[in-house]
Amino acid sequence: MGDRSLTVDGYCTLGVDREYDLTESVLLEDMDCAGVDYAVIAPPDRYLAVRNREGNESILRAAHLHRDRFIAACSVNPWDGENAVQEFNRALSQGARMLVLHPLVQGFSANDELAFPLLDLAASQQVPVYVHTGPPGNSTPWQIADIAQCFPSLAIIMGHCGATDFWNDVPDAAAAAPNIYLESSLARPFHFARYMAAVGKQKGIIGSWAPLNNLPFEWDQMRKFLPPEVFLDTSGKNLLELLAKRGPL
């Protein structure tokens, strides 16, 4: 897994619900088409908001079936308090390698201390936390900077780089703490290239957020827009280093 040439899609939603319609076979096919070795998989919105265990189970099952291709991300709703902490712990024990928080869908502000017990656990277990950002008001780049500064040993992934409205804030907010990483989906390749130039290629993670975006197309565009040395690091190396802190995949 230390191989520099491995590619990892930093965020995909696996499952069929509302706008999501991604099955395991289609994801594998798309990954093959795009030359992607691994994909981080997470549950659809409904299972981020409610029925967390059901969503986590589905993702963990898929990751166990395809352990050479999928990396499980779990989610719990911070409003569930101690139950959320327990479910997060349980998912970790079953092989989850990332925590996903979606403040818009889960109904909290990204820097609300409501989520701190989960961030504490993630930090102690050396698990990166992916936070969907961009929805105005409750999940913005500077809110990510707040929690990154409160949890300096925790790797925080700024999903979507605050797209669309907060593109102005991204370079300064990302530079505010060394433990912030930028994930590319929705940010569009021309903007992501600019962010990498501003904050450094060691902070970037390419993600497609399939099926909301077309995975092969997103990867093709990243290859076109990013300088080769930036693509090399952001297409797998950076994320694999974060994931490896907890141990080999």
């Binding site: 999501y20 961009g134 390749p189 021309f190 099926p211 975006n213």
Partner: protein
């Protein structure tokens, strides 16, 4: 026939090319884009320069009148002078639309002077493009509020709700004087918008031109690679815009 219904004559282009759109048009040529709704830049950021920027935009578009469709702006904060500028754009400059960016321009859609401008545009049969998808002045719902108050005026949600507000844009299309421009939502949202909104009131745009980067490559192929039926794609890219703006083929 491809009509890009959301472009800008950016300040960087004007500074570099001095009112000559040849290089700008060469980007369109590279993607087979025939015509473009040609919006400004400085007229959204400088109240004091808005009028001269509208004139400049019209002069720049006049280099290629069969391809560039200039759309002007004005500032409701200027009261009667703002209304007069809207009239100048329509009657003197022959512009086929107005464009507002309430978030950047800093006015509310509840501004009574904006109401006068909406009424003027409706009387003249000229549509109004709005930046949408962004609080606190540019939500799709707020533009839909104008559409309710001014049923004889056609309104374009120029970003179809962007990434997080597209369901609001979809709901807004139940008003028959609302058009949506697919310029901002992710691929899956575009598919769902096209499957549920009136197919005659959907346009496509790239937002190209604020900077020098070619955004058309990404935005056009993002749209073309969706599962939207080809016949509808063709209609959205061409026929709808031609009909909506009353253009010659």
């Amino acid at each position: 026939m491809i009509v890009d219904c959301h472009t800008h004559w950016g300040k960087v282009w004007d500074d570099r090319d001095g009112g000559n759109p040849a290089q700008w048009l060469s980007i369109l040529d590279g993607h087979g884009v025939d015509k473009a709704v040609f919006m400004g830049h400085t007229n959204f950021t400088r109240m004091d320069l808005c009028s001269q920027e509208n004139d400049r935009l019209a002069r720049t578009a006049a280099h290629c009148p069969n391809r560039l469709i200039p759309v002007g702006s004005c500032w409701p904060q200027l009261g009667d002078q703002g209304v007069a500028e809207a009239r100048h754009c329509i009657e003197d400059l022959g512009m086929k639309g107005l464009k507002f960016h309430p978030w950047v321009q800093g006015f509310s859609t509840a501004d009574p002077v904006l109401g006068s401008i909406c009424r003027l545009a409706g009387d003249a049969g000229v549509p109004i493009f709005f930046h949408d998808g962004t609080p606190c002045y540019s939500l799709s719902e707020q533009i839909a509020g104008l559409a309710r108050r001014f049923p004889r005026t056609r309104f374009v949600l120029a970003h179809a709700g962007l990434l997080w507000n597209w369901r609001s844009a979809l709901l807004a299309t139940r008003l028959d004087n609302i058009w949506i421009c697919l310029c901002g939502p992710h691929a899956r949202a575009m598919e769902l918008l096209c499957s549920r909104a009136d197919p005659q009131r959907i346009l496509w745009g790239s937002d190209f031109g604020f900077g020098l980067a070619d955004q058309i490559e990404y935005r056009l192929n993002l749209f073309l690679k969706t599962r939207i039926p080809r016949s509808l794609q063709d209609r959205i890219l061409g026929t709808n815009a031609i009909d909506f703006l009353g253009l010659a083929q």
